[in-house]
């Protein structure tokens, strides 16, 4: 909403922005990055979702109307720019404890100690990229700061990464600035957290864990690269709790999920990177935000048709209010991620099923009655009531969602089989799976190829000996 208001002001049209009480700090923090720190807002007391219709009406008429008038008829106070250090300025000098205290007091770390980003440490990271340190990969909202190679190195050092992880960090920031991902939504109240999926020979080269405990901290590359992601969101994108990050609960950063390509290769499936448009064997990162996840214990059986209904059921149950990403302005953007343990994938493949066969089965079976679909949208979202028949008639939904007027007909949760993403990782000999619940368009999957420096092998060898 604020981005829309800022666009209007830039076009010479005065605005009044309707801000719920709980969002006032986020509005103020975000307005700075948009270059309009003095943009006015009209307060809506409390939160409209927790008020009766009469309470909402009274609040609007008694409080908000007057502020809207003020916003639109009185010139806002002039704004002043805040001075900040330059990127190469020495920001602080001191011992380990003092550095960490200083960073924490300035909102520059996540609450854990950081590795001090000294010149020597930063330069070690820069050796692992052929890019110019001043190259700008993009400008990241809400703070509108430049995503530079230099800043990637600084935050990589802080996160505890090793210098050789630098090519992965660069690819991650390239994905972060990709508009399709929608990093600007990272402070929304759902508080979804990004999952980084890693593919390619680099998984083994750098010692990522891709087997048992694949989503647990404990392995340096998986953990530190995951931590880098959130530090970069904090320091360069500008997502800070109690300011621009409005996660109601939120999660700690997720460790990197590395796919088990040994198994993928053995069973003749394509690695997850192919879903993002890359060739098998490419080194890639794929990012997407997920709101939660379900562990599916004991996916038993030897026949896919008997094993997969369990997974389809989980996908359908995860839908809930997230159906707002199936219908409406974000329609068709749900992209759940299923992670199968190797033994499950091997069992399915042994029966002759491809990954696409699995997706088709899940698409056919992850369904809910139409009346239940419409009820969830009506009762569990704040959006206008949606009618599936009308949406199909207006060509805003595929015909599959209204093949008859029977309210008990089963309708899909996703638009097509390929919307369901699948990776293979985890304990090789345990029949468990994991289903990540998609955050739709606000953290849409984006993949990037990892660009290695020309001297990669030599540099890697030197780093191993250091």
């Amino acid at each position: 909403m604020l981005r829309a208001s800022a666009a209007c002001e830039a076009a010479g049209i005065p605005t009044a922005s309707l801000v719920c009480e709980g969002f006032v700090k986020q509005f103020a923090a975000t307005s700075v990055g948009l270059g309009v720190p003095n943009i006015p807002h009209a307060l809506m007391p409390g939160h409209p979702s927790a008020q009766s219709e009469e309470e909402r009406r009274r609040n609007i008429l008694e409080t908000t109307v007057e502020q809207v008038i003020s916003n639109l008829t009185r010139a806002p106070a002039a704004a002043n720019a805040q001075a900040e250090p330059a990127a190469r300025d020495i920001f602080f000098v001191g011992g380990f404890q003092a550095v960490n205290r200083h960073f924490y007091e300035h909102g520059l770390n996540d609450g854990l100690p950081i590795v001090p980003p000294t010149r020597l440490a930063v330069e070690a990271f820069l050796r692992f990229t052929d890019r110019d340190p001043d190259q700008v990969l993009g400008v990241i909202l809400p703070d509108s700061r430049a995503a530079t190679i230099w800043s990637i190195a600084v935050n990589g050092v802080m996160a505890g990464c090793r210098p050789e992880y630098m090519p992965i960090l660069v690819a991650l920031v390239e994905a972060m600035v990709d508009h399709e991902y929608g990093v600007e939504h990272s402070g929304n109240t759902g508080g979804g957290e990004t999952l980084i999926l890693l593919n390619g020979p680099i998984v083994k080269q750098l010692g990522f864990n891709y087997t048992q405990g694949a989503l647990r901290d404990g392995f340096l590359p998986n953990t530190s690269v995951g931590r880098f992601w959130r530090l970069y969101l904090r320091n360069v994108a500008g997502f800070l709790l109690h300011q621009s990050d409005k996660a109601t609960y939120g999660d700690t950063w997720r460790v990197v999920l590395a796919e088990n390509e040994d198994v993928i290769s053995r069973i003749g499936w394509e690695p997850a990177s192919v879903e993002s448009g890359f060739a098998a064997g490419d080194n890639t990162v794929t990012i997407a935000r997920y709101l939660s996840g379900i562990t599916l214990a004991s996916v038993s059986g030897t026949e896919p048709a008997k094993m997969l209904p369990y997974l389809a059921d989980a996908l359908a149950k995860q839908a809930s209010w997230k159906l707002t990403f199936t219908v409406g302005p974000h329609g068709g953007t749900l992209r759940p991620r299923l992670v199968l343990s190797p033994i499950i994938a091997e069992t399915i493949a042994k029966a002759g099923w491809s990954k696409l066969d699995v997706k088709r089965f899940l698409f056919e079976h992850a369904r809910i009655p139409a009346f239940e679909f419409e009820r969830m949208l009506r009762d569990w979202t704040d959006r206008p009531t949606w009618n599936l028949a009308e949406e199909v008639q207006r060509e805003r939904l595929p015909k599959l969602f209204h093949e008859s007027d029977d309210p008990g007909r089963l309708v899909p949760v996703f638009w097509k089989p390929e919307d369901i993403l699948i990776a293979v990782a985890g304990d090789p000999l345990r029949t468990n799976a994991y289903a990540f619940a998609s955050n739709g368009a606000v953290g849409f999957p984006v993949g990037k190829r990892i660009e290695l420096p020309r001297e990669w092998d030599r540099l890697l060898g030197e780093s191993a000996q250091a």
Partner: protein, 107 residues
């Protein structure tokens, strides 16, 4: 015996980068909304449809000559095509004779 300082000595860089936006002037305000056309922009959240109807009621009571362009004219400002919608607003405002905007809901 004095304690040994094993805390090290570090000269460290700032982990942020320069903001790429300059301060931008806000649009000039009119003294009254009478005779003005006010557009409604909505992200389809938090009961905006009814909120806008009450705002119309309250503003018309103060400025009988104010006119409104419904949020229906613009579609959601928070959909997958947000960038396209926002980029098209100046032209739409010209076509519709919009003088001011109320934008909602939330943040």
């Amino acid at each position: 015996m004095s304690p040994v300082n094993d805390d090290g000595h570090y000269e460290v860089f700032w982990p942020r980068t320069a903001r790429q936006t300059q301060l931008r002037p806000l649009a000039p305000r009119a003294h009254t909304l009478d005779g003005k056309t006010v557009a409604q922009l909505w992200n389809y959240m938090f009961y905006g449809a009814e909120v806008f109807s009450w705002l119309e009621q309250g503003l018309k009571a103060r400025f009988p000559g104010v006119r409104f362009v419904s949020w229906n004219e613009f579609g959601s400002i928070h959909g997958t095509d947000e960038r396209t919608v926002l980029a098209g607003l100046p032209q739409r405002f010209k076509e519709l004779g919009v003088d001011a905007v109320i934008s909602g809901m939330g943040s």
